[in-house]
Symmetry: D2
């Protein structure tokens, strides 16, 4: 960096973990933790050492957030902004789409959920789950605003395909929806189709079931998507498993585990969206925007 | 090809469209069809010509099916098989997971759905939708059997990320689930976790909510996923839209349009799964399997 | 194509070989031809069939020339032009650098060499080599004019590295020089360094030993390079070799073989240069130039 | 690392520069140094700061040597070894090909040149050049032994194209030769062709003008190549140049500059060769060799 300006060189950073407690995981070293990556890593890398799998920890996503924050500065110069919210935790789910401004206002609140009443219920629910020694799944919604029409590719690298890949690369992600997503399975064309009309001289769509992308290419509407996360696999409850010698065993978590990836996954989802969009903008020939950091 | 053996050279093929009827689309040439790619293509390529968007037609997926059929032969030598079914059309949905054999038996039936009673209801429903001049969304399930543990990558190219990208690259795909997918948002860790146990000397999981992938890497269980497709945007009903000159207009479809991408999307989903798995197998250092075609 | 304008879709073409004479190669089918790819292909692909190696024929370069001609139209809109000449055949070699205009004027002459007297000597020499039943090596020079400063990458994808890769991918290429190239080994810094000075208000270099690239990035001077080609391996003279059963054998060429890759390699060198520069221009964020064909 | 074994995670390292003397370069901060990357970097990145170009320093190649040393361990398990020598400095050049063992024995000698008498002349010559305040070009030869036949690709990623790209990506590299390289331009096919014959039951070539690669694919012979390097652009002699304000200026180097990239470039050439070969081996489906470090 020279006076807050990137130089064209790769940006490097180092995050020191000043609160590592490896002893908390020591009692798990002989076990394959259920729904963790221990077993799959052992099979892939052929090395029977529990420390290998530390790379599968969500600590890895800190790097994505750093990279995403640079990408967001680049995108903002092109008028592109990104917001994410916690849209569901267990049975509690928002009941309407929120605008970009509403989503932004939820940023920094305890659960990053724009519905305050719902947020309170979610908090109580999380407390209960924690007491049970259990964990719970959730859903994060993301919105990318200000994308000009014409960004994306028409066949294999469709814009939604790149977003799907980015989101499913986040630890514990289990599903991805673009626009109305899963609800589209039950919709008729006459309900789903986003009709074009003229607003203030611009061609816009009356609805946005397509989530801002048609034929793999942005149409100028908000890009709206959801990512579903599974419950964190580490729980305090006893579970049956198998140890690294292939013998049955019982496991019980002790380390510092969250109960739900929300709200911590919100900035990760935002970061991955920013990285995808920055790549797309550069591929589209708009790379000449410089960034101050 | 030399005696049904690939030679190492790229495989090329040409599919002649012997039943093209361009006149069926001529009346649409001045209109942006709702939820079609017309508008986005125009903005991306800067060319105001309706023929450009023919590349967004599902005819393009024929090439994927050809490529996938070669990949499947390669995979079968490694013991990897792929099956797909229609799992939902509009409000009609299968009510349990089907085994690989059951899924295979549905292949070639009229809707590629393994539940015969449900299949009959779906057919009546599709007839009604067609009479209404409308279209309907659906869900396709895919299953990849025989994948050895240890295939996939731990960070950005997680196996589920590559599958998600491949599936969202299919025309009209709107959502992707790996394993329990969207249902994971409402599940507790104690419900979701796939407990390890010993079966016939092999380490297996009692359930398969993870869909055969943990930490981005296969764990040896069936890889199970779902793809949700939106309703086909071309319908016979009248719809409001805008023409290429930016004036309001009314559109009414006439060409030969399907009412639902199922069951035709089933082989496309299978083909994309095959291409992803063949790439993964080669990246994993198992490329030496030769293929006869 | 729509009215001579590309549509954004991949461009496809098919060249029918209307004068194939496979019988001319039949007598070689059991032999590994010296310095041909027969043996290496057999080892790589594991298939003992002489037809595999037809892909190693220079016929393949016709596709490169087609692609390059599209790239050249794109480049010309950005003011970038490419010329190539035959600079040496056997012992006959040009004795100075030629300007872009001089190089262009050689285009279409019998050997594509700008020195007419030398060209005549080369022709006699080639006639003699042909009579001997032999073949001969050569050198092609390329020049890319009009490249703005700032194109290229600073580390692994240095502009000269991409050019080197492109040129060494041409059949029979044996060496690549950027700027003064091989002569640099014997030069002092005080001789080689390209001193900056001001010409008509622009910063230019007095010499161009760097060949228009410094630190992997264009400096606005002509990009000048050489490609050395080995003699065509197919000759009419008898040669010792080994057959596909591993037994000693004698080989004698009969097919229609050129005596030297010059001048036919000139357009191939130009095409590869065009493809590299078009990629670089797009990566540099100047992709918005549309092309009419 | 776990007990000297890689874990599958990316390998990271940090080299602290404990002898940086930025003040040595301060007097150059306003000047475009001749044949340096200053001007091209300024044009590419649009930032008028002399520190940007530090990335163009050969210090960057230290990382390549580290990566290459890991790759070499991997290659050695597959029986592949790499050696490099200084083959020419200014007018002093070796007069024959050296065997792998001879080249290895030169490793660690003052100039890494296997001809001791020549080496002494080169040392005197370098002393003289240094006294003149000048620098000099050179040539490095590389040899890769033990490559099985069948490694490489037949068209754009020919093995020689990948090597050429790797070598031209090294700072100050100006030319690349595979096998007889530049000498091929003057050779007849009957001289150049590498005749096949049987040695101890193996098919080998009598000569190795092709440098171990035919049709882009290894043929089992030693892979032999040369890289020509230009003289180091920083010299103590006064040179004319232009400053960052576009005014004529005079430059005189002061920092710690080598006089010739040899012998320091030898391990860099070896490292790049190792990285290319390790990639090729993995692409060829031989990735399962594990490495202890």
């Amino acid at each position: 960096m020279i006076d807050h300006t990137t130089t064209g060189a790769p940006l490097a950073f180092l995050i020191a973990n000043e609160d590592a407690r490896p002893q908390d995981y020591e009692h798990l070293s002989e076990l394959y933790r259920p729904s963790h990556a221990d077993f799959a890593y052992h099979k892939k890398y052929g090395i029977n050492d529990h420390r290998l799998v530390h790379r599968a920890s969500a600590r890895e996503t800190a790097s994505r957030v750093v990279a995403g924050s640079i990408a967001r500065q680049y995108l903002e110069r092109a008028g592109i902004k990104i917001a994410g919210i916690t849209s569901a935790i267990g049975p509690y789910s928002i009941d309407r789409d929120y605008s970009f401004e509403e989503m932004q206002q939820a940023s920094g609140t305890s659960l990053e959920c724009p519905d305050k009443l719902l947020s309170r219920k979610m908090r109580s629910f999380l407390t209960r789950i924690r007491k049970e020694g259990d964990s719970i799944g959730c859903e994060i919604q993301g919105l990318i605003s200000g994308v000009p029409p014409g960004i994306g590719d028409p066949v294999f690298n469709k814009l939604q395909a790149n977003l799907a890949s980015a989101m499913l690369s986040i630890n514990a992600a289990a599903a991805f929806d673009i626009g109305s997503g899963r609800h589209a399975a039950g919709m008729k064309g006459s309900e789903y189709n986003d009709l074009f009309s003229i607003h203030n001289g611009h061609i816009r769509t009356a609805t946005n079931n397509s989530g801002g992308i048609q034929g793999g290419i942005s149409n100028g509407e908000d890009i709206r998507f959801r990512v579903i996360f599974k419950p964190i696999p580490s729980i305090s409850k006893e579970q049956q498993t198998v140890n690294r010698d292939g013998k049955p065993a019982v496991i019980q978590g002790k380390g510092r585990h969250d109960v739900c990836v929300a709200p911590r996954a919100v900035p990760v989802v935002e970061a991955m969206a920013a990285l995808v969009m920055a790549d797309q903008l550069m591929i589209s020939g708009n790379a000449k925007i410089s960034v101050e950091i």
